[in-house]
Every structure is written in C-alpha cells, then in structure tokens.
Point group: C2
Chain length 237, copies 2
C-alpha cells in the first residue's frame, strides 16, 4: 500500500510529492507500531517475527527495518508510545474527579487496568542488555515525569488542593511505584484489581482538599495560610 | 565430587548414609546456586548454559536437572536466594544507625549497591511468561515483606522512633520502590549513586526520632501522647 501511494505521489509536482511521501510514511510507521504493539503484547518478543508484523500491517518486512532497524527497537518504541498514550488517557480520566483521593484513584485505575505498563516494563528489561535502545526509554521516562508533574501541578492549582509533596516527586513516585507493582504483580499472576489496590496502598494520600478534616492538621493549615496569605475562598472543594 | 561422597557414605550404616547423602546434596545444591548466580549476573540467562554452570561448580549437568529441573528454575531460585541474602545484610548494616534518616540511608545503600535487586528484577520478568516459577517469586516477596516489616518494627520499638506508617506498608514500599528504581535505572544505564539518590528521594522520611523538630508537629505529638499516655523518656534519641 505504501509503495503504491509513493508512486502516485511522485507523479505530481516535487513539493507535493515530498509532502505526500512523508504523510504516507508516517501512516505506515504508525500502522507498524499499532500492529507490533498488539502482537508483542499478545505473544511476547520472541514469539513474534518481523514477517508477522509486516503481514499484520500490510507492509513489507524491509519497511520495518527501514523505519525501526531491528525488531527490538520496534518493541521498545511501541512500548514507549503505548505508555505515553495511557498516561494522557489517565490525565483525562482523572480531570473530573471531585476530590484528591478520587483523582489518585482515577489515575491508578486508568494506568493499571491496561497492559501498557507491563509492556513498558518488558521494554525496560530488554534495554538493560541493549544500551543502544536506552535513549528511547530515557526520553519516555522524562516525558512521563514532566507531563505527569505539569498535569498534577495544574490540577492542584485549579482545584485549590494542597499537594503533600512537590509535583515532580509526586510524578516520579507514581511511575516508579506503577512499574514496581506491575513487575511484582505480573510475576505472581495477580489480577488488575490487586495491582490497583497495592498501588493505592503504596502511594498513600497525595493531596488534601481545601480544608483538612483533622483539627490538628487544620491548626497547621491556618499557620501556613497566615505566612503565605492565601485566600480563604477554597474552603469547599 | 558429590557421587564420590555418596558412595563413601553408603559404605557405613544406613542412618548415617542417609544423613551424609543429604548433607552432600545440600552442599552441591548450594555450590550450584553460587556459581549460577555469578555466571547469570555476569552474562545473562541466554549466554549461560547448564554445562557452563556444571563445569564452574565441578558437578554434572544431570545434577542441575535433578536439583532444579530447568535452567530457568535455577535462574529464579538463585535470584531469590541473592535478594533474601542482601535483605539480611542490609538489616545488619542499618542496625547501628544513630537516627531514622541514617537507618533508611544504610538500608538503601546496602540494597542498591549490589546487583541482587537487578538479578531479582530479571527473575520476575522471566516469571511473567513462566507461571510455573511464580510460587518461588511469591514466597520470596512474602519473606522480603515479612522479614522487612519485623526488622523495621523491632528497630522502631528498641530505639523509641515513631514510624510515619505501619511497618508492613513501609516494608512493601521499600521493596516496590527498590524494584522500580532498579528497573528504570538499569534501562537508562544509571550509576548506583543515582539509584541510591533516586530511591531516597522517593522513600521520603520513614520515621522520626523521639521529639520531632517542628513546633506544629510537636503539638500534635503531645496530643497523641496524652491519649496514648506514653512515657516522656524518649525525648533524646
């Protein structure tokens, strides 16, 4: 399919041809990643060949080596794309949560009930013995931390919630615990309900709504407000 | 070597023979685990054969299949034994720490500066596609949590420190973060200094010495003491 569109594109003017080729290339690349992700998650790295992925994506094996060089690089890139996608879905799902605990639960539910973290864990394991693929993992982990931190800080500010730790640490902690819980849980054949419960247990309370319920905490809260001179309008979330 | 000692043992009385055989068997088993651990950590699962391990341990390949059935089962058992050993070493190293933060740092240093957690991470990844090996991982994780929780609770009580969360959650959090940080760090080629720093950042303060330093916290502390009627003798750690 891709070679066909490339040939058609080359018939028209050169500028348009370059643009059309690039678009067709992006479509092929994206389709290869989709099919690779599906096959790898179903059957694992070793059971899937480049020929299998090419056949599933209606492409030539040479296109896989052209775009990704090796099966392992395609595996890692597909896993990175999946986990970034799930992270964005999780932020959307948590956006309408009424209180901090619901927000955390919505994030954890969205992330831990997919197979994206498990796939990413396998990609990280593979990369340990393939340092040439480390930059892909590194960029992905940085983006997870950065985007997670931004989304979290934004929610705290918009809602008037008080985070118990800095947003950067919150984001790193979220993803490291997600990775650890997934690896342990999958090794022991745990259900996704168990993974969600374990992650919520280890994350603990992330933030508080405007007014904490315990008297002793409210006293500290008042003191902090005096020094920071924050408005009192955040009493109800 | 083992067959020789077995033959000698069989010459004497039956009871003694059984005992001698069992001891020789345990020694062989232990030597196989030692050599397997060393070779697997150096070269990885795929690069090491049963014949390599047998040669290094001065044993027959058939002894490996007799004691462990498969190379993968030997890999997982060696990794489980390593991480349990490192956990005990870490508890010993942290035992003399003067304050809660030093205690946490000593535990993290001892655990993250060995390759035991990395080895255990690989064993857990392998087990995901080998559910027959899951019980070994499961028992090891349970022991890490149980022994960690007991040691932590014991230290808190002996020193008069106040843990910020229940010992069971502290122990689970410690190991899950150790696993997550190790997997991420190894995938990105991080140094053990980086792993230690990241783990300390994510663990946060685990416990407080007798008297917390911040006034607001001391107020809460006093309230708690009134309700629990604890002695005041723990003022100095």
């Amino acid at each position: 399919m891709a070679p066909e569109s490339v040939r058609n594109a080359l018939k028209s003017d050169p500028k348009h041809a370059v643009r059309a080729t690039r678009t067709a290339g992006q479509r092929t690349r994206s389709r290869l990643l989709d099919e690779a992700s599906r096959l790898f998650k179903d059957q694992g790295l070793n059971a899937v060949s480049i020929a299998d992925i090419a056949a599933a994506a209606d492409a030539f094996p040479s296109q896989i080596t052209y775009y990704f060089r090796t099966k392992e690089a395609l595996f890692v890139e597909a896993a990175c794309r999946d986990v970034l996608h799930v992270a964005r879905m999780a932020e959307d799902a948590a956006h309408s949560a009424p209180a901090p605990d619901d927000y955390t639960r919505a994030l954890v539910d969205s992330v831990m009930r997919t197979d994206a973290v498990g796939f990413f864990v396998e990609a990280m394991t593979l990369t340990r013995r393939r340092p040439d693929l480390a930059p892909l993992i590194e960029r992905t982990v940085e983006r997870l931390h950065l985007e997670g931190s931004r989304a979290y800080a934004g929610e705290m500010q918009t809602r008037g919630w008080r985070s118990r730790r800095d947003p950067a640490t919150s984001a790193r902690k979220f993803w490291t615990i997600a990775v650890g819980v997934t690896l342990e849980g999958h090794a022991m054949g745990r259900s996704s309900d168990d993974l969600v419960a374990e992650m919520l247990r280890l994350l603990e309370t992330q933030a508080d709504a405007g007014v904490p319920s315990r008297t002793s905490l409210r006293l500290i809260d008042r003191d902090d407000r005096l020094t920071k001179s924050e408005p009192d309008s955040e009493d109800t979330p």
